[in-house]
C-alpha cells in the first residue's frame, strides 16, 4: 500500500520550543507575585496559560502538522469541556 509522508519538526526545533515554554512559565510565575498588576494579573496568567497549551498541542502533539481531522476532534473535546465548565458554574450561580 502506498503511504504518504509529511514533515515533522526536527529535534533542534523541539529544544527551541521547550526553551520558549520554560521562559513563558518563568514569566507566569513572576507575574503571579507582582501585586501591582492588580486586575490585569488574572487575564495575563490565563493568556500565558493558553499560549503554552496551544504551543504544546500544536508542536509536541503535532496538531500543526497532522491531519485536520485530529485538530477538529480535539477542538470538539475542548469545546465540550468549556460548555461543561460554563454549565456547572451557571447551575451553581458561580458567575
Amino acid at each position: 500500500m502506498a503511504t504518504t509522508t509529511h514533515a515533522h519538526p526536527t529535534a533542534k526545533f523541539y529544544w527551541l520550543i521547550a526553551a520558549f515554554l520554560a521562559v513563558v512559565t518563568a514569566v507566569e510565575i513572576g507575574i503571579s507575585y507582582i501585586e501591582v498588576l492588580g486586575p490585569a494579573q488574572a487575564p495575563l496568567l490565563i493568556t500565558f496559560g493558553i499560549v503554552k497549551f496551544i504551543t504544546v498541542a500544536a508542536v509536541f502533539m503535532h496538531l500543526r502538522y497532522d491531519l485536520r481531522d485530529y485538530r477538529t476532534l480535539f477542538l470538539f473535546g475542548l469545546l465540550g469541556a468549556l460548555v461543561v465548565f460554563a454549565v456547572v458554574l451557571a447551575v451553581f450561580q458561580a458567575f
Binding site: T5, H6, T10, W15, V88
Partner: protein, 202 residues
C-alpha cells in the same frame, strides 16, 4: 529569529497518514483525549466552584508556589524528552529513543514524588480529602491528574521493555506516537491546573 526551513522540518517515513489502521488508531486516540478534556473540564469547574469553601480550614494560602513551579518545569521538560523519544523512534534510532523514554519516566516519577510530598505537607497542615469542599475538589483534581501521570509512566516503562526485547520495530512506532500523545495531553492538563488552581488563587 530566522530559522531555515530544513533545520526545522524533516520527513517522517513511518508517518503513514494514508494507512487506514494508522489513521483509525490515531483518530480513536484523539477522540479519547477529547473525552478526557470533558472529564478534566468538569473537575476544574468543580474546583472553581468550591475554591473558597474551606470550612474555616486551610485554603489556597498553603500552596507552595516555588515548589509547584519546579514540578511544572519538570513535567514540561518531560514533554520535551517524550517528543525527542518519538522523534528518535521515527528515525529508527531505538537506542536514543530508549534513552529519552527512560528520561521521561524519571521526570514523571520525580513529578509524582513531588506531588506525594506536597499532599503529605498539606495533610499535616490540616487540608484533607474530607476537611472541606475545597480539599475534596483539590485532591480529586490533582489526584486524578497524578493517576494519569502514573499510568503514563507505566505505559512508557512497557515501551522501554518492548524496545529492549526487540518488539518495538519501526512497524510499531505508532505505539510510541500514541503514548506520546497521551503524555503531552497530561502535560497540557497540568498547564491548565497550574494556572487555574495554583497561580490564580494566590
Amino acid at each position: 529569529m530566522a530559522i531555515a526551513a530544513d533545520s526545522v522540518f524533516e520527513e517522517s517515513d513511518f508517518e503513514a497518514t494514508g494507512d487506514p489502521i494508522h489513521r483509525t488508531r490515531k483518530t480513536a486516540m484523539w477522540i479519547w483525549l477529547g473525552s478526557e478534556a470533558f472529564f478534566f473540564g468538569a473537575m476544574i469547574s468543580t474546583f472553581l466552584l468550591y475554591r473558597t469553601t474551606t470550612n474555616d480550614g486551610p485554603g489556597a494560602e498553603i500552596f507552595n508556589i516555588p515548589f509547584t513551579s519546579a514540578s511544572s518545569f519538570i513535567l514540561l521538560t518531560s514533554s520535551l524528552t517524550m517528543v525527542l523519544a518519538d522523534n528518535a523512534f521515527q528515525r529508527k534510532d531505538q537506542r536514543q529513543g530508549r534513552i529519552w523514554l527512560i528520561g521521561t519516566i524519571l521526570l514523571g516519577l520525580t513529578f509524582l514524588a513531588g506531588q506525594i510530598f506536597e499532599f503529605t505537607e498539606f495533610v499535616h497542615e490540616g487540608l484533607t480529602l474530607s476537611s472541606s469542599p475545597f480539599g475534596s475538589s483539590f485532591y480529586m483534581l490533582t489526584g486524578f491528574h497524578g493517576a494519569h501521570v502514573a499510568v503514563g509512566v507505566l505505559m512508557l516503562s512497557m515501551l522501554v521493555a518492548f524496545s529492549l526485547r526487540g518488539r518495538l520495530s519501526s512497524d510499531h512506532g505508532m505505539n510510541v506516537e500514541l503514548t506520546a500523545l497521551y503524555w503531552h495531553f497530561v502535560d497540557i492538563v497540568w498547564i491548565v491546573i497550574f494556572t487555574v488552581v495554583y497561580l490564580l488563587q494566590i
